[in-house]
């Protein structure tokens, strides 16, 4: 055993606070003298601190704030701040709100929190309380939202995100609070001051609420980085998050040729295709959250509709004349979160729904008689990468006797970030008994996986004489950079030389190629099975996906196989029949245990007539 001597020769420690006296020396200060501001921590103790002013916010009750000589947080305090929140509909103003500010800034860099005591005439959640609002730029505005107060006096703490920034702060305190359930009430604040607590711990700054977001975007699109906050652990052991301004952060872009970001956190997509990661630091320390912009370059428009205008009732499309629409976003209170950020690119108008949970388009004057129509068409585009398959629900509402019909489509992960054309027969809308007075189309994020989407070409149409048997439009042109692609069949890339698209494996399938809108397309007629012999064994182990575009109106079974020497083969089932072209990116891991460093063949089996295009491996 190690023997160690713990030798306490003289053990002592201070029993209380050490008293130390500082004597200023007689030195003249005639050299550089930095501008200094008062460090007075007091805002409102027994009245206004020196230099403090008050201004009510516009639209608020101007007299909401007053000094109260009766109600105070303890017997020593002689006055408190009283705030009277109006009832809903009060003619004097809709809410109580204002800011306490000084003419000359104060140096608050020696403190770590704004603290106060508060109580209210009823339990309530105060909408906003904070500091840094100087009625001007309010550069370092910091606030907490929904602070719960009770009828008892309690002490509250608003941590200062980065005290070193507050060397000349004028905004001492501000508040904003509306009626609770329509009724006004009173709250009091006392002993309002800045403090150095030393017990506010673990600051964690965040952008985008701490999420790592990935978003497909286009040249010319701008987006402000939101969700700026800092979370602290309070002396009570719980966390408190304060909402803060962009000035606390230093933003940067990993690739300024793709996207730039300015000091205020405004991101602008300037190039592409390519990606850029927007991150931020505070005091040199990286913060939580990032935004990866995946620019596809110039805007990729939805497929241009080709339906005969005589057989179309259009709600939103630049290809047709639209019927009168009340709105494309009803902002239905209180449960809808969906916002609109519609945009147009070169005259192509696109609906852009953000913070999506559900949203309705209404066309009530007049309602639409769609009795002669057979389908609803909508093109949607999910700019965020899906984490798992999404359930996208569409409801059609009839204002007469037809009721509400709903249809839910499953969107595979691989179909995010590309236009998806939905052509849905009205017969698929369960619950819609007739469609003589249609007046709403509602989109619902049925399993909470679609944070935002674009929509275009929302129209009702008559398919007129059954389903088409062959695609009328070419498969979508691939956008993956050629450097990361090994192509089997595509006009967009150089294919593997020597590949045999119709090896004789004894199959019944008839293979042909045809040109659709000038694009070479592979057709399997009467599929039972069909192989593709690659010109040479391919090592695709460094790549991530097999990409396919396929189209079929009459197949009920379709699988695709990768085959390595052995043979070792694994199928992946494709969803058929399709409504228009289906584009899919199948993770190569799905083909395990096929040896990805030695892929020699592809195979399809199933039935029906299949159109294929853009068969390639990509990273």
């Amino acid at each position: 055993m190690i023997m160690m001597i713990y030798n306490r020769l003289l053990k002592y420690a201070p029993a209380g606070m050490l008293v130390f006296l500082m004597l200023g020396c007689e030195r003249e200060l005639n050299e550089l003298e930095p501008v200094t501001y008062p460090t007075n921590p007091e805002v409102f103790i027994n009245g206004f601190s020196p230099g403090l002013n008050y201004a009510a916010f516009g639209g608020s009750v101007p007299t909401a704030f007053d000094v109260d000589n009766q109600v105070t947080y303890n017997s020593i305090s002689t006055t408190s701040m009283r705030f009277e929140v109006p009832d809903a509909g009060d003619p004097r103003g809709a809410y109580a709100g204002g800011t306490f500010f000084t003419e000359v800034g104060r140096d608050l860099s020696g403190y770590d929190a704004l603290t106060f005591w508060a109580k209210a005439s009823q339990a309530a959640n105060i909408d906003v309380l904070g500091f840094g609002n100087d009625l001007g730029a309010s550069t370092y505005q910091t606030s907490i939202s929904g602070l719960a107060v009770t009828t008892n006096w309690q002490k509250y703490i608003i941590p200062i995100p980065d005290p070193s920034k507050l060397t000349a702060e004028r905004g001492m305190f501000f508040y904003s609070e509306g009626p609770e359930n329509g009724r006004g009430y009173t709250f009091w604040i006392d002993e309002l001051k800045f403090e150095k607590l030393g017990t506010v711990a673990y600051p964690q700054f965040s952008i985008l609420n701490g999420e790592d977001q990935v978003e497909t975007s286009f040249v010319g699109v701008s987006k402000a980085i939101g969700g700026l906050s800092s979370t602290f652990n309070l002396p009570s052991g719980i966390n408190r998050t304060v909402n803060i301004g962009s000035a606390y952060f230093e933003f940067s872009s990993s690739n300024e040729s793709i996207a730039t970001v300015n000091a205020a956190g405004l991101v602008t997509v300037v190039g592409g295709p390519g990606s850029a990661v927007i991150t931020a630091t505070v005091g040199g320390v990286p913060v939580k959250g990032s935004l990866t912009i995946q620019s596809v370059g110039d805007f990729q428009s939805a497929p241009v509709p080709t339906r005969d205008p005589a057989k179309v009732i259009s709600l939103f499309s630049d290809a047709y004349t639209n019927v009168p629409v009340d709105y494309y976003n009803g902002y239905w209170a209180p449960f809808q979160t969906t916002l609109s950020a519609d945009f147009d690119v070169n005259g192509d108008h696109v609906l852009n729904y953000t913070d999506f949970n559900f949203v309705g388009i209404q066309f009530s004057s007049p309602t639409v008689d769609a009795s002669a129509m057979t389908h609803l068409h909508v093109d949607i585009y999910l700019p965020n990468t899906l984490t798992a398959n999404a359930a996208f629900k569409i409801e059609l509402v009839d204002n007469g006797t037809g009721g509400t019909g709903s249809f839910t489509t499953n969107i595979p992960v691989a179909q995010s970030r590309q236009w998806i054309s939905l052509d849905i027969p009205f017969t698929n809308f369960a619950g819609l008994s007739n469609r003589a007075k249609l007046f709403q189309v509602i989109f619902v994020d049925d399993n909470d996986r679609i944070p935002s989407f674009y929509a275009d070409n929302v129209y009702l149409y008559n398919a007129g004489g059954g389903q088409p048997t062959a695609p009328t439009t070419a498969a979508p042109t691939p956008t993956h950079p050629a450097a990361g692609v090994i192509s089997v069949f595509s006009n967009a890339y150089t294919s593997i030389p020597g590949t045999d698209l119709n090896p004789n494996w004894g199959q019944a399938t008839v293979v042909s190629q045809l040109s659709i809108q000038g694009n070479n397309t592979l057709k399997y007629t009467g599929l039972n099975y069909q192989g593709i012999q690659l010109g040479s064994p391919q090592n695709v182990s460094a790549l991530g996906f097999l990409h396919l575009d396929f189209w079929t109106a009459n197949s009920s079974s379709l699988k695709v196989y990768l085959i390595s020497t052995g043979p070792v083969e694994t199928p992946v089932t494709l969803s058929v029949p399709t409504s228009g072209w289906t584009s899919i990116d199948i993770p190569l891991s799905s083909f395990s245990p096929v040896n990805l460093s030695d892929v020699i063949q592809l195979k399809f089996d199933g039935n029906g007539d299949i159109f294929l295009d853009n068969i390639y491996f990509r990273n």
Binding site: I5, R8, V19
Partner: protein, 276 residues
């Protein structure tokens, strides 16, 4: 005193020079304790690799939920999985309390059957976890607990902390007639600091006459033989326990606002005997 001088110098502003004088250093302001020579007889420095279990020759884990939440309505299930109990490869033992919905896992280890000692100095250097309902402890039980049961065996809590008060620790003894909600106890609070943000040294010095409780070598509580309202049961070997409980009578329930995971990070545990 050395440390205070350094702080004083840092506090001097740039625009002025100060002459610094310590005043009031009267003898009464400092603790002068009798000189002792402590010999290290047992220690664990927790030098294992990241993810390793603590040394099985020194510690044995308690597992499961005990009886009635280890007698305190505690919520956690104790495991010996590395996610709850392991060295970190940087010289520390980490006990991690995890939340999964409304259930919690954590860890508790003891030296029972492996090491126990009567009298001496018992100390640990550690950072506590924090948050409402989180209850870390460094404590001891009398080795005769199997035969005489609790509280006759005696309990010495060298450090307990309620996570909703991360600036206060408590030193406590439980014995017959003064146990459960009625022990001999005292808290010690930090001014402008917390026990979870930095390491602190928690220790007792125990002899036949008394038990002294220290934080960072500051004596904040002395319990003498004559101070207890019942029997003095501290003249036999005690074994040590380290744990992080979640919930329970002492600390209350965790809330939705309690941050998880919570970690107690233990730099070392050392036990000394006084040299003759």
């Amino acid at each position: 005193m050395k440390a205070k001088n350094i702080l004083g110098i840092i506090a001097i502003g740039t625009a002025f020079l100060f002459s610094l004088t310590f005043w009031g250093c009267k003898p009464d302001d400092f603790q002068k304790l009798p000189q002792r020579d402590w010999q290290l007889v047992w220690s664990d420095e927790f030098d294992g690799a990241a993810g390793e279990s603590p040394d099985a020759s020194k510690w044995v884990p308690d597992l499961g939920t005990g009886q009635n939440g280890w007698g305190n309505q505690e919520l956690q299930v104790y495991t010996d999985k590395s996610e709850n109990l392991s060295t970190d490869g940087q010289g520390n033992l980490v006990i991690t309390a995890l939340r999964s919905g409304n259930s919690f896992t954590s860890a508790r280890i003891k030296t029972q059957g492996l090491f126990a000692q009567q009298y001496g100095r018992f100390e640990a250097r550690l950072k506590t976890p924090y948050g409402p309902g989180v209850w870390p402890a460094f404590w001891m039980l009398g080795s005769n607990i199997e035969t005489v049961s609790w509280p006759q065996c005696g309990e010495i809590d060298i450090m307990e902390l309620r996570g909703q008060e991360p600036h206060i620790i408590h030193g406590t003894i439980h014995g017959p007639g003064y146990s459960g909600g009625n022990p001999i106890t005292k808290g010690h609070a930090l001014i402008n600091a917390r026990f979870d943000t930095d390491y602190h040294i928690f220790a007792i010095e125990w002899d036949a006459e008394k038990i002294d409780f220290f934080v960072d070598d500051y004596l904040y509580q002395r319990i003498e033989r004559g101070d207890v309202p019942g029997e003095w049961v501290y003249d036999q070997p005690f074994f040590m326990i380290l744990n992080v409980a979640v919930g329970g009578n002492y600390v209350g329930f965790p809330t939705d606002q309690t941050p998880f995971p919570q970690k107690m990070i233990v730099d070392y545990v050392r036990v000394y005997q006084e040299a003759n």
